[in-house]
Every structure is written in structure tokens, then in C-alpha cells.
């Protein structure tokens, strides 16, 4: 599946975090409830038009992961990828980034610029490292400075706010983080990232225990939009 995914752009919008995305997701798959539900799945062409029917998940379309990977490899042959450098996949801000990174059990890499002007250069430099064979897919990324993407940075322990790249370990619930490694953006990033990722220790999570403990602690994620998935609403 990972190999098959490299010839694709894999997009995983966080449901209930964007009104614009919610409208797109509802258009891609019409649920029985008529409401946006927790998950939507579809394969699309590079212009965003459906190639397969949509569904709540890959299992609506494919028998199993092997079936899906086979079909993805087959479809990818219809599109010749351009030989250009890949862009960096980023998350809007540190708050959402910590949560998504915790869900995936990977570090969050926060690239901190002095100002908005510094963002594109920092992004390009980090993109080069992020698509390195030993790094790709092993972290999430936020590009931020004092007035953009910075929401949530106060929850990161030992964050110093100086120009550079911070490899952050999220806590199990993605509400806080701590700096595992600081890398100067003046130096080559791939080696430092590889080393930091090698030191990262994923947390073993049990789904039921995680939710039970989270409820016991009174944790409740506030999404941008109301949760409308009927199953999810019943569970809350």
C-alpha cells in the first residue's frame, strides 16, 4: 500500500475542521443520513473528479488492502507524474497538528519562521528533507510563525520560538507536546530529522482504554464544526 501510494497524492482532511472541506466531502459521498459523517473515501483524478464510486471507507470499494493496492497501481499507470519536487504536506496549526500526530503516533515537526516572508523558503527546505526515503510519512509538519499556524504552540514544552525546526513529541491525546530535538534551518535537515525520528518512541495505544481514560479525564476535542456523524453522536 505504501509503495502504491507514492504515485498518488494521499489527502486526509480532518473531518469537522473546515466548512469548505465539509462541503466537498458531502459532494463526494452522499451518506444515508444526508449529513457529513466521520469518514469519506474516494479515488479521484488529478483535477479532483471521481475515478471510483465513493464510500465511508476503502471497504466500500475494495475487498481488502491488497485489492486496493493492486487497483491503485493499475490506475496510476494512466497518469504520468511530472518530474518536479514534491511539496511539503502541512497541517494548519500546531493545535490540530499535535492531535493528528498523536492519532498517527508520529512526531510533529514545527518549522518556525521569523515572519511570513520566511515561510516559503523554510517550507521548500523542509520539503526536500520530508520526502527523503528514510523520512517520508514518518512525521507531520506545521510551518508557522508568530501570527500564522502558531495556535497551540504554547502547549509545547521547551519551545523557544527561535528560527528553526522543532521535532515535537505529542502526548497520547495530542493536547500537549515536548521538544525532542531542535534543528537549525541553516543546516541540512534530512540527517537531523532522520536521527530525531530514530529516537522517537511511539506510544502503544489500546483504543478502548484510550477513550475510557480520556473520558475519565474529561477530555473533549472541540472541532471547528459540529459533529454530525450519527454513530459518533450516539457514542458521545
Amino acid at each position: 500500500m505504501v509503495t502504491a501510494s507514492r504515485d498518488w497524492v494521499c489527502i486526509r482532511p480532518a473531518t469537522y475542521e473546515s466548512e469548505i472541506e465539509a462541503a466537498i466531502l458531502k459532494r463526494l459521498f452522499r451518506t444515508r443520513s444526508g449529513e457529513l459523517e466521520n469518514t469519506v473515501f474516494a479515488l479521484l483524478d488529478p483535477n479532483g473528479k471521481r475515478i471510483t464510486r465513493g464510500g465511508r471507507s476503502p471497504s466500500f470499494v475494495f475487498a481488502d488492502a491488497a485489492d486496493m493496492a493492486t487497483e491503485m497501481l493499475r490506475i496510476a499507470k494512466d497518469f504520468k507524474p511530472k518530474k518536479v519536487a514534491r511539496d511539503l504536506p502541512t497541517i494548519a496549526d500546531v493545535r490540530l497538528g499535535l492531535n493528528v500526530a498523536a492519532c498517527d503516533n508520529v512526531p510533529l515537526v514545527v518549522a518556525w519562521a521569523k515572519n511570513a516572508k520566511g515561510l516559503p523558503a523554510l517550507r521548500a527546505k523542509l520539503a526536500q528533507a520530508a520526502w527523503d526515503t528514510g523520512i517520508v510519512g514518518r512525521a507531520h509538519y506545521v510551518i508557522a510563525h508568530e501570527t500564522e499556524g502558531q495556535v497551540g504552540v504554547s502547549e509545547v514544552a521547551e519551545f523557544e520560538g527561535k528560527l528553526g525546526v522543532y521535532v515535537v513529541v505529542p502526548d497520547a491525546y495530542g493536547l500537549e507536546g515536548r521538544v525532542l530535538e531542535y534543528l537549525s534551518s541553516k543546516k541540512e535537515l534530512a540527517a537531523g530529522l532522520r536521527e530525531a525520528l530514530g529516537r522517537y518512541e511511539p506510544v502503544t495505544k489500546n483504543d478502548r482504554r484510550h477513550v475510557r481514560e480520556g473520558k475519565r479525564k474529561g477530555l473533549d476535542w472541540e472541532s471547528e464544526l459540529p459533529v454530525t456523524g450519527p454513530q459518533e453522536r450516539r457514542r458521545r
Binding site: M1, V2, T3, S5, D7, W8, V9, C10, I11, R12, A14, T15, I20, E21, T39, V40, F41, L43, L44, D45, P46, N47, G48, S57, P58, S59, F60, D64, A65, M72, A76, F79, K80, D87, P89, T90, A92, L96, N99, A102, C103, D104, G134, V136, G137, R138, H140, A172, Y173, G174, L175, K205, D207, V211, K215, L219, D220, W221, S223, E232
Partner: protein, 72 residues
């Protein structure tokens, strides 16, 4: 079996397959530890797809389970 029972059975079956295959996609990684590289916004991902002429695999998910964050 009545139509309602058939539909319920299909929904429950779909739910269990949904959880398994979703988890399998989410946790897939190579022996070297590489994983799927996810774009997390539609805007960024679509722009990348157009720019690089790559098709899109889209799979939205909520970063909270029963309201508790840190789990899809």
C-alpha cells in the same frame, strides 16, 4: 430474511470491514518504517495533484473518537 434485516446485516458487516481496512490503511508501513505521506487539507492536496499530475486517494477522518482526541 426481511429487507430490513438484510440491510442491517449489510450495515454491520460494512462497519466491521470499515474498521479493519481503515486501520490497515492507517497503520501500513514498510519494513523500513516509511508510511503513507498524507496531505491534510483538500486545498494543498488538490494543488499538489494538479501540479504533479498524480491521482488522488482521499480518506477523511475525524481526529477524535467519542470526543476524545488522539485517536481516529
Amino acid at each position: 430474511m426481511s429487507r430490513m434485516h438484510s440491510l442491517l446485516a449489510l450495515a454491520l458487516l460494512g462497519t466491521s470491514f470499515h474498521s479493519q481496512l481503515f486501520a490497515e490503511v492507517e497503520r501500513t508501513e514498510t519494513t523500513e518504517g516509511a508510511r503513507i505521506a498524507w496531505y491534510t487539507t483538500w486545498q494543498e492536496g488538490l494543488a499538489e495533484a494538479k501540479r504533479t499530475n498524480r491521482p488522488i486517494m482521499l480518506h477523511s477522518a475525524a481526529p477524535q473518537c467519542s470526543g476524545v482526541p488522539g485517536m481516529w
